[in-house]
């Protein structure tokens, strides 16, 4: 298991938390909670080693459109970049409902 952390500048307040997904083979769970200050922090635990650059690319793209101040925990069991992005977008959708 590899642990990876990132943080991104952010400004918009988020009021609701959201939980989506299951840590099943090829899947992941995302916990999105309101954060503090002007940074968003992302904590990743993944069963697949050596994909830090891929994670960074996915999250760079996600935070190029999303500006909420959040704390995101990702528990990953081998999700593809596509499914990671879908789960992130689903978490945002739920938190903004």
């Amino acid at each position: 298991m590899e642990q990876i952390e990132f943080d991104y500048p952010a400004k918009r307040k988020v009021s609701r938390r959201a939980h989506v997904g299951v840590v099943g083979s090829g899947g992941l769970e995302v916990l999105l909670e309101p954060g503090e200050g002007e940074r968003s922090r992302v904590f990743i635990r993944t069963s697949v080693h050596g994909f830090r650059d891929t994670w960074k690319a996915v999250l760079d793209r996600f935070f190029s459109k999303y500006d909420g101040v959040v704390r995101i925990q990702i528990n990953d069991a081998g999700g593809t970049p596509g499914s990671v992005m879908l789960r992130l977008e689903q978490a945002v959708e739920e938190s903004e409902q």
Binding site: M1, E29, N75, A77
Partner: protein, 291 residues
């Protein structure tokens, strides 16, 4: 009687199998009455998985919800089959035990509280070995205490099914609800093949596995109380019906003499056919014994 497959509803049904544990648990409650206890944001995860290089899940694959079903106080405990095969670890086991014990405490205080356990599990989580085994023992003890006051309803919809130590939990419950996609058994087919060889049981032969462990066969043998389609309203109705019914006159697992007699009468010198077992143990026979 085995209900025939409902083909008219096939396209319009709301699949229960496609829901995750949280979705399954939530679907059972009367609208607007449920709340989750010890959810993922409480971050009570297994302390043993990360040190063995396994990614944990924040709810440890066990979802507990409290609310009302058919107007009656109920607790639902759902195992997530997709996370570590729905296996019982220290945390998931303790969550289930505590939920059952709280239901029991409420029942003793005059609010009979039924429990619905949604079992999609291969049994004890091997990474947590003895702690998982201890959990299964505690769950069994808690079911036995609760079922004096209020029914414990086991639903196994599939596709993991219910095997290993948690099959005891299913066996002790007041009612068992299965679908044709469910499988129920003590030792799973893969375990039997691994221990006794492919001649004993070819676990890759799905027709054979379902002819023996499958929901339809288990129901036809009188080892389950309802066989329903993979349709959420059908499963909800079955659960509501059993909660409304209350405790059975006698629990299946209390009929020790009946099952001793049946097992004693089995001639194990020859291979039995699943359909013969249906005739020998069948639902009708069980109903007579239940009077």
């Amino acid at each position: 009687m085995i209900p025939s497959r409902d083909r008219t509803n096939f396209l319009n049904r709301q699949s229960f199998l496609e829901l995750d544990a949280r979705g399954r648990a939530a679907s059972l409650f009367d609208e607007g009455t449920s709340r989750e206890l010890v959810g993922p944001f409480d971050r009570i995860e297994s302390p043993w998985l990360a040190i063995q290089d396994v990614t944990p899940q924040e709810d440890d694959g066990c979802v507990v919800m409290k609310g009302k079903i058919a107007g009656k106080a109920s607790v639902v405990v759902a195992l997530e089959g997709a996370f570590q095969g729905g296996s019982m670890g220290e945390v998931s086991g303790e969550k289930m035990t505590a939920a059952l014990d709280l239901a029991c405490a409420d029942s003793e205080k005059g609010v009979p509280t039924s429990a619905v356990i949604l079992l999609e599990t291969g049994g004890v989580r091997l990474q947590e070995a003895n702690l998982g085994l201890a959990s299964v023992a505690e769950i069994m003890a808690s079911i036995l205490t609760l079922r004096k006051h209020a029914p414990v309803i086991c639903v196994s919809a599939g596709t993991v099914g219910c095997f290993g130590g948690m099959a005891f939990a299913a066996g002790l419950s007041s009612y068992i609800v299965l679908t044709r996609e469910a499988r129920l058994g003590l030792n799973g087919p893969e375990v039997i093949e691994q221990e006794s060889g492919i001649d004993e049981w070819d676990s890759g032969d799905r027709a054979l596995v379902f002819a023996i462990n499958g929901g339809e066969q288990r129901y036809a043998m009188g080892l389950a109380d309802a066989l329903v389609e993979d349709d959420t309203p059908q499963i909800v109705n079955a659960v509501r019906r059993f909660i409304a019914k209350g405790l059975p006159p006698i629990h299946r697992s209390s009929q020790v003499e009946l099952y001793r007699r049946r097992i004693g009468a089995l001639d194990t010198s020859r291979q039995w056919d699943p359909s013969e077992l249906r005739r020998a143990w069948g639902t009708n026979g069980s109903k007579e014994d239940n009077r």
